[in-house]
């Protein structure tokens, strides 16, 4: 920061903050983006200047799936370690949203009241976010097909990420998922310090859907990878039989993973000799599913790289609850409602795998069959193309569904999708209006049964707003 006052920056901060206050006063929501848009119009370098004022620097987290949950885990880990964290917690993850977050954590004269910035970042916005925030740590979690209408293809994003990472200073740290070939390959030529994390417990291979894998061909020579263990999509232990390019041994290893239905999982992690703090730790994670265990692995690795003690990491993760709507258990006046966001083929398939797996292992109740509410919107933030529904592995639901209420702007598409997945059309009901669909789904829920709600992003916001109206959850910007 310069010693003399920068009037343009001060004006930008003031105008941005005022816009946020006005937006809230007018009932237009939490103002998670608007202040950033306004400030950047006055001082385009607002985010850069405010980021530079953070004593512990910035960490940026990117990836198609799990970045919100992973970032929240890292935020909790850092806060548990006593650090003041600037975090775009409400999920506004474009550059304007990061700017708004930085503004909210700053005083009018440009002083940032935090030690470290933690930014979950949209895939397309990641290069610009790296350029402006100059992070000390970048975590890249995975890269799957998602909103192809908006982002373009996976390869396009991977090359944009590579170009941005190459501009980072040599003392920056980049933490990559060793099991995702497209992400791991980014580490090959970087000038920075590069660390990898990965799942070593190959008992979890072979169950996930793979027909929509995006990066199953060698990043160097195009030959199909041979997998000794494949967890889902293109994620697993891969090697190229032609040129020898292969998965690297990870520095942060998830050695053992026990999944416990929809209630949680147990992890044994280790940090190897290349890491700043070699260690091993066991964590009982209160979140279900393979993908949440991988989120916890990435978050623990990030925590260790940022110097947090292993015991603090364990304590924090054992008390963690997920981001709003990602995985939420809600008491709907005595009727349990389990909500899990679905937004792309890999995430939806893994959520379905978790629900069916929990049911098969009997952790919910032995005779239970799923009652579902699937809400599909095709608004801009969801992706306007719902073709992805046909890549997701809903086939796994066949034989496990007692009732399926479909809703949202593309309720009709979802009804067809479930029919072709092998669900009896007599069990499928369509109600595009979400509050009415929720009422109808709850009304037909047998006593003791859980309603499993799977909404897309904007459907999740609508559903949550409706639940908040009924007093069943808090509004999200107070979350």
């Amino acid at each position: 920061m310069p010693n003399f006052p920068d009037f343009r920056l001060i004006a930008a901060i003031g105008a941005g903050k005022a816009a946020g206050l006005a937006s809230r006063a007018l009932g237009r929501g939490g103002g998670t983006t608007l202040p950033g848009v306004v400030a950047r119009r006055i001082a385009p370098d607002t985010l850069r200047r405010l980021s530079a004022g953070l004593p512990d620097g910035v960490a940026v987290i990117g990836g198609t799936n799990g970045k919100t949950t992973t970032t929240r885990m890292i935020a909790a880990i850092l806060q548990g370690d006593g650090r003041r964290v600037l975090h775009n917690r409400a999920g506004a993850n474009l550059v304007s949203g990061l700017t708004a977050t930085a503004l909210a954590g700053s005083s009018l004269n440009g002083q940032v009241h935090a030690d470290i910035g933690l930014f979950e970042t949209d895939e397309a916005a990641l290069p610009q976010a790296l350029f402006e925030t100059r992070p000390r740590l970048v975590v890249l979690h995975n890269l799957f097909r998602d909103q192809l209408d908006r982002y373009g293809e996976v390869d396009t994003i991977a090359s944009a990420w590579r170009a941005a990472l190459e501009q980072l200073p040599a003392n920056a740290m980049v933490l990559l998922n060793a099991d995702d070939p497209a992400v791991a390959a980014l580490g090959e030529t970087l000038p920075t310090r590069v660390f990898y994390y990965g799942l070593e417990d190959t008992r979890h291979a072979g169950e996930g859907a793979t027909h929509f894998a995006d990066s199953q061909f060698c990043r160097r020579c195009g030959t199909p990878y041979v997998y000794s263990a494949r967890f889902y999509a293109h994620v697993g232990h891969y090697a190229c039989p032609n040129c020898g390019q292969r998965r690297l041994a990870p520095d942060f290893r998830l050695e053992r993973l026990e999944l416990d239905g929809t209630s949680g999982s147990r992890l044994l992690l280790s940090a190897g000799p290349r890491t700043p703090l070699p260690t091993a730790l066991e964590i009982s994670l209160p979140l279900p599913g393979l993908y949440n265990a991988l989120n916890a692995l990435a978050a623990a690795a990030a925590g260790l790289l940022l110097g947090v003690a292993p015991a603090h990491i364990r304590t924090t993760l054992e008390q963690f609850s997920a981001a709003f709507g990602r995985i939420e258990r809600i008491d709907a006046e005595g009727r349990p409602l389990f909500m899990a966001l679905i937004k792309n083929p890999v995430g939806a398939s893994e959520t379905v795998r978790m629900l069916v797996g929990a049911q098969e292992s009997g952790s919910t109740s032995p005779s239970s069959i799923l009652h579902m509410l699937v809400a599909i919107n095709d608004k801009y933030a969801d992706g306007t193309d719902v073709s992805w529904l046909w890549d997701a592995d809903f086939e796994r639901l066949a034989g496990h569904v007692a009732s399926a209420m479909v809703s949202g702007t593309r309720a009709g598409d979802m009804a067809v999708r479930l029919k072709y997945a092998g669900i009896d059309p007599a069990q499928i009901r369509s109600e595009p209006d979400l509050p009415r669909a929720l009422d109808a789904a709850l009304a037909q829920l047998p006593p003791g049964a859980t309603l499993y709600a799977l909404p897309t992003y904007t459907a999740m916001l609508e559903l949550r707003a409706e639940l908040a109206r009924r007093g069943w959850v808090k509004p999200f910007w107070e979350d």
Binding site: D149, S387, W390, A415, V416, Y420
Partner: protein, 252 residues
């Protein structure tokens, strides 16, 4: 008697984007619900295919990298025999990248000319902007298909290539909403004998069961003669989804 259908799926590992797998699911289920024995034949790179034994084929779109990996294999290995099969009436649906590779060539915006197999009299020119969005078309009389006049199809397009039709093909339909082949001439897709190319993802066939059945019917008629008929199915959910999109895109 039990009808049998052999369905070839071209390059399912590389050309599988935008949910085009839904077309395979649609054909598979609609055959299964009628007791038609469908055999699925995945055709990967390097495969030798007896095209004369195939009744129905599907070729979807891919990522640029996926398409680059298979283009040579397709043109050189499958090209000559597949062209013969298409001339002999093979029932084939090709979408987006698959459609482009059936044509004469793809001219990239850097001036590179990537060959297709020339089975369809079309060529494609790369464009700077992508043509993206929901699309609705109407199959009119010029397509010369045995479908009721006014049959409408809905889908989602996402392509940078502009495809132009030659005299040897007929357009599949007229664009009611969206861009179609090239965003200029109001046409979408191309038809030659029993081969259909178009840009409609969505997936196409699940929400357009008339067209799915039309393809299955053509395949059965070709193997078993005109007497082969399709048992009707309850398509209420499919038609409701199709109608919902038509009402949104077109004033009906």
């Amino acid at each position: 008697m039990t009808y049998r259908v052999r369905l070839a799926h071209l390059y399912p590992d590389q050309m599988n984007i935008y949910g085009d797998r839904g077309n395979i699911l649609s054909l598979t289920q609609r055959c299964a619900w009628r007791g038609i024995a469908l055999e699925l034949l995945p055709v990967g790179a390097g495969a030798d295919v007896d095209w004369a034994s195939v009744d129905l084929a599907f070729f979807g779109g891919g990522q640029d990298s996926g398409q680059a990996l298979i283009a040579d294999d397709f043109v050189q290995r499958q090209g000559p025999l597949l062209r013969t099969a298409i001339d002999a009436g093979l029932v084939l649906l090709a979408i987006c990248g698959g459609y482009q590779l059936l044509g004469h060539y793809f001219l990239t915006h850097t001036g590179e000319r990537l060959p297709g197999i020339g089975a369809l009299d079309v060529h494609t020119v790369g464009g700077g902007t992508r043509l993206i969005g929901n699309i609705a078309i109407e199959i009119d009389a010029s397509a010369q298909l045995a479908l009721p006049t006014g049959t409408r199809l809905v889908g989602f397009e996402n392509h940078s290539g502009r495809t132009y039709l030659g005299a040897g093909v007929r357009p599949l339909g007229r664009v009611l909403a969206g861009h179609g082949n090239n965003g200029e001439d109001g046409t979408e897709g191309a038809v030659y004998r029993n081969t259909f190319g178009c840009y409609m993802h969505g997936s196409l066939l699940p929400k357009n069961p008339q067209f799915a059945d039309y393809l299955i019917g053509l395949a059965l008629a070709r193997r078993y003669g005109v007497a082969a008929t399709l048992a009707p199915l309850d398509d209420q959910l499919e038609m409701a989804a199709q109608r919902g999109m038509l009402e949104r895109l077109v004033r009906v």
